[in-house]
């Protein structure tokens, strides 16, 4: 929760001045040598592989309809059979126990991962698209447009984004799509700021001047020269943001679930909230196991992002 905002501070990433190829191979080598970052990368890749497997071949989970599988939300209990605790002697389905409606937790959780990662990637990339185009244009054109854009992003940064996202969801109406929309609305200014700073710098490069001198249109310079140069630092920012967005996404659905709203696609934060009311009966696994599952991912993404930042920040290379 706290880290989203902290990551936003990382606005001033310098583009490098050496030859690109030489630089990126050196960077890659340094990154590959960082063992902790590699562990983070490996875990992140495993999570993405699971999510892709869910999308391509959902039958492997053995749960035919994931969206109806979430009937264990309080008040929607279809089957009141006692949930069984984790046991490792049977089918892999039951390794992590079952929920109240005797749904096995492990396949549910793996299925939920697809929703979390797919929408996280969607939010980040749509936010990036909007932010990079508006931010680069602001940096490139300058003047009143730049001024307005910067004031707008200032206002966004002075809003408590979590509460703001909830208010947007309330105004638009509670639905899955509106949560995604609200997160895009609160997240694009991060990229706009970053892109604007980088565009300001790129603008003064010789090849941009040459292009302008040879009569290229502003549109062509912006999309052909400025934006491609802005993108690579933005990708680093994205790798840092993935963990934050997953957290924010899960947090919002956790709240929605704990508020008793239902009928959403299965999602990890939502799963966790569904188990909350049985905690007092000593049924801890529907809550703790998905929590740990989410935790491993956010820690891994942070390890990877830290490693990336370490190798890309020249100050730390000494």
């Amino acid at each position: 929760m706290i880290e989203e905002s902290a990551l936003r501070s990382n606005k001033t990433m310098e583009p490098k001045k050496h030859s690109r190829l030489e630089n990126s191979t050196a960077t890659l080598r340094l990154f590959l040598k960082n063992r902790i970052a590699m562990i983070g990368l490996a875990i992140t890749l495993v999570y993405f592989a699971i999510a892709i497997a869910d999308a391509v071949y959902p039958e492997w989970l053995g749960v035919s309809n994931l969206s109806t599988a979430l009937n264990f939300v309080p008040g929607h209990i279809a089957n009141t059979a006692q949930p069984s605790p984790p046991r490792f002697n049977g089918s892999w389905w039951y390794w992590f126990g079952t929920t109240y409606s005797t749904m096995p937790i492990l396949p549910l959780m793996l299925g939920a991962l697809r929703i979390d990662l797919a929408y996280t990637v969607l939010i980040v990339f749509v936010g990036m698209g909007i932010g990079v185009i508006l931010g680069s244009a602001a940096g490139y054109f300058g003047g009143i447009f730049d001024e307005i854009m910067m004031r707008v992003t200032d206002i966004f940064f002075s809003l408590p984004f979590f509460v703001f996202a909830l208010a947007i969801v309330y105004v638009l109406g509670f639905s899955f799509d509106n949560v995604v929309l609200a997160l895009i609305i609160i997240w694009w200014p991060t990229y706009a700021r970053l892109a604007r700073g980088l565009a300001l710098e790129t603008k003064s490069f010789k090849y941009v001047e040459a292009s302008r001198a040879s009569g290229a249109s502003s549109f062509r310079i912006l999309f052909g020269h400025i934006i491609p140069n802005v993108l690579s630092p933005v990708y680093v920012q994205i790798s840092l943001d993935l963990g934050s967005i997953v957290q924010l996404f899960a947090s919002i659905f956790f709240l929605i679930g704990s508020l008793g709203q239902s009928a959403y696609p299965i999602e990890i934060g939502y799963m966790i909230s569904g188990g909350l009311s049985y905690l007092s009966e000593g049924i801890w696994w529907p809550v703790i196991i998905p929590s740990l599952f989410l935790l491993v991912f956010t820690v891994a993404v942070n390890l990877m992002g830290d490693g990336l930042r370490d190798v890309l920040d020249p100050k730390l290379r000494r």
């Binding site: 206002i155 002075s158 309330y170 956010t298």
Partner: protein, 366 residues
Amino acid sequence: MELRYFIIRRLLLMIPTLIGLTIIVFVLMWSLPHTFLASAFINPKAPNRAQAILTAEKQLGLNQGIVFAYLHYLANTLTGNWGYMTLTTPIKFSGTVLSGIGLFFPNTIQLVIFAAILSIIIAIPLGTYIGARPNSAADQLGRIFSLSFYAIPVFVLAVVFQVLFGRGVIKGNPLGIFPISGTFSISAVNVISPPSWLVSGVGGVVLSQPTHLIIFDSLIHGDYALAANAFMHIVLPVLVLTLSLLAGILRFLRASMVDAANSEYIKTARSKGVPENIVVKLHMRRNALIPTVTVLGLLFAGLLGGVVLIEDVFDYPGIGYLALSTILSGSIFGVLGTTFLFGIILITANLLVDITYAILDPRIRY
């Protein structure tokens, strides 16, 4: 420039931000059906409902176009006319938005005060210690600690703490000694004749006099049993809030300590024979605190989101819980009012951060 002028300039710079905040909240309001707005604005128990709705329409400027409506909204906000809210779940409340905020805000302040003080007194010495010894065993431990708590979603941490340390969650758990919800137990109060300084409010919210902070008030009035009870109730939420804030501060303080350690002035100080203790405390830490303070404002923005989640998990009647309740009860002006309030808190926090920054680093003032 003198600090005084810096503060005045900074206060003036707050005005556009405040206007921006009101514009955003107004846009949220304006995008809702207008017929709905007037009827939500009024006191539901108003004797003449039709008349009251007409008055509300006038007060909100609903028929005068978006610009005038915004000006009306601004005037209403400034004069404290934030509308009515009727909450049904999980809090039961009916009254003006401002009076509702007055009921719940003290509880959150209580939470945040403890968490902020605790994390700062732990983070600064600890960050100084490990930052001065990069790559030592203590540093590695500190990094693992801060990274994992930095990466844990707040609600996960809250739920795990509730399971591990909550009373009665796991049977026979020797660690489960803390109550898991509310601000104090009713059993700790003499319900038949409650003390006069404890005014029973709506929805289980009890307002204590004079500070409204139940722990401090019960101490003032000498009811130590109640103070201890209330204290036990906030241990878990405060702990969760502290850990997530602490991890963030520690991370940045450590990084900027290492940064400062590599700078020329530290080498100069060491080579001219300044004692190591002074090098670390006076030269390194003072410079390392500057970037850390900048991040503090941003961490605080996250903290506010964390407050909402923590109050939800622990059923703690603060403004986060109030915000959720307004959403759940469908009270428009409650939602807008709490969103605006959260914005104001963040803007004020950023102001304080900037002033601290100017005190620590005089260059900023120019």
